[in-house]
Amino acid sequence: MAQMNMVQAINDALRLEMKRDDRVVVLGEDVGKVGGVFRVTAGLYDEFGEERVIDTPLSEGGIIGTAIGMALYGLVPVPEIQFADFIFPAYDQIVSELAKYRYRSGGEYPCKMVIRTPVGGGIRGGHYHSQSPEAQFIHVAGLKVVCPSNAADAKGLLLAAIRDPDPVLFFEPKRVYRAAKGEVPEGDYTVPLGQAKVVRPGKDVTIVTWGAMVYEALDAANKASVEGVECEIVDLRTLWPLDIDSVVGSVKKTGRLVVVHEAPRSCGLGGEIVALVNEKAFLHLEAPPVRVTGFDTPFPYTLEMEYLPLAHRILPAVLATAKY
């Protein structure tokens, strides 16, 4: 075990896999010589050279499109989009090509790659350095979507994602890039995709969340505990395919569900989770499921701390659900 933050853990995973599999190629804006704006790819250019770590122009459509070509060829590209907010120039390539290549070719052409990108708010980045667009990719059949909350999971999930046969969007919660520090297994280490994790056991209310909001849920849970309400927190880790069994298992125990996500409320992943819980555990519910989310607005600069579903908004929702 080694102490690492999430940036270091992701860097470690990339280095490990690039050593193990020479088909892995990293590409993106300033990922090489500069080592990435968040330093996630630091050192890789010096270690693996410019043919394995490719600095690209400002050209998101080009980055993802060429990565798709390389993937079809049999390489394993791991492109970086500097912020998730800048992924939209590449949205056409992701939606029309990447997500559908396997299906359109009758299963003949897999498109194995991992798009890494920092996601979420909390750094006062304003409209275009803060968004959480995960649902916009889940809604496109054919993509897997991952969002770790801590350093060990980040490493294990990234290695699993790179080895996965399908295209994976790997969202990195930038707010906790450095704060999420912890023990990370050394050497090869994978966390299977599609498996949630209970990060706090409890009997009264289930909180389902992911990424940076796991810490807010923990904070709210500690405060709820003082009031005699014990929360069970399910960190999804992989957002799609969704580990609905773990969610339902917890809700069957607690009878109460609070979903927390940064993304806007409407048509967010929270809505899907609530629908599935209603379908699969309706008779176990003791209270209506609740969503604590961002608002149906663009991401604000000044009112960021009101917009985000932080502990001060989670706690009342938890207590109200518990008392219902």
Partner: protein
Amino acid sequence: MSELTRERGLRLLREMLRIRRFEERCAELYQAEKIRGFLHLYIGEEAIAAGVMPELLPDDAVVATYREHGHALARGVAMNAVMAEMYGKWEGASRGRGGSMHIFDAATRFYGGNAIVGGGLPLAVGLALADALQKQSRVTACFFGDGAVAEGEFHESLNLAALWKLPVLFLCENNLYAMGTALERAQSQVDLVAKAASYALPAARVDGMDVVDVGDATRSAVAAIRRGEGPRFLELVTYRFRAHSMFDAELYRTKSEVATWRARDPIALLRARLDLGEAAMAALDAEVVSEVDASVAFAEAGSWEPVERLTTDVYARRPP
């Protein structure tokens, strides 16, 4: 070199100094955590905004980049409103909702900073298309960096504007880098004038450190556009003296390269040309600094957006 009247020279000097002192103050306010998030300074590039804007009419449109404090100030957006926006105050140009990269002002037809690189180009073409359809002899000035030239929007926009002979002035602020990526590491054709000209629109390169040259080139380009001759492209060669943002160790360029460019500081160049003495310069500086002081006081005294307003302006009316 065109003839430079003292009056024009002093006006240009004042404008560049306004931008410089405003941004120096912003850097201090950032350290003091009054301004948060991202801050991209225009210092070194002031001659472009200061040179271009006086050649536009009040009714023309401006589409800017995310490094747009200088564009906004030179266009005539009130310094108070720009500073308050930096603070995120309700009195800011955009109600404090966006901060540094999102300054909008309908009164001066300033269609915004834009944190999406390349995002402004197609809509600038649309503003110009609307003017053409409405038989207006207005111009849309569209600023973007050398980095934006690699985005698809650049190519679509130049083609459409040239194809339809639209009244757009494309202003490429080539400061030789897009973040840590030097131009020659991003472009197969580093001659951006040749690149633009390949879309069959007249293109020219201008010394972006010489505010008078910038003004003169803009004047003739705008005149041609107003005569109905279609779009024009200017490459303004410049250099940012500061880091890309407040989080940039600048490992991609050498200190001596920065020093070489700093020796061509657009403010110093014009001051020398005007032969402006210490006392006159100090007096001008004092006036500018007092305007900056007043904008800081205005922003400090401002209020935060009331939380009840968080969901307004998403739609014309709030959906039920």
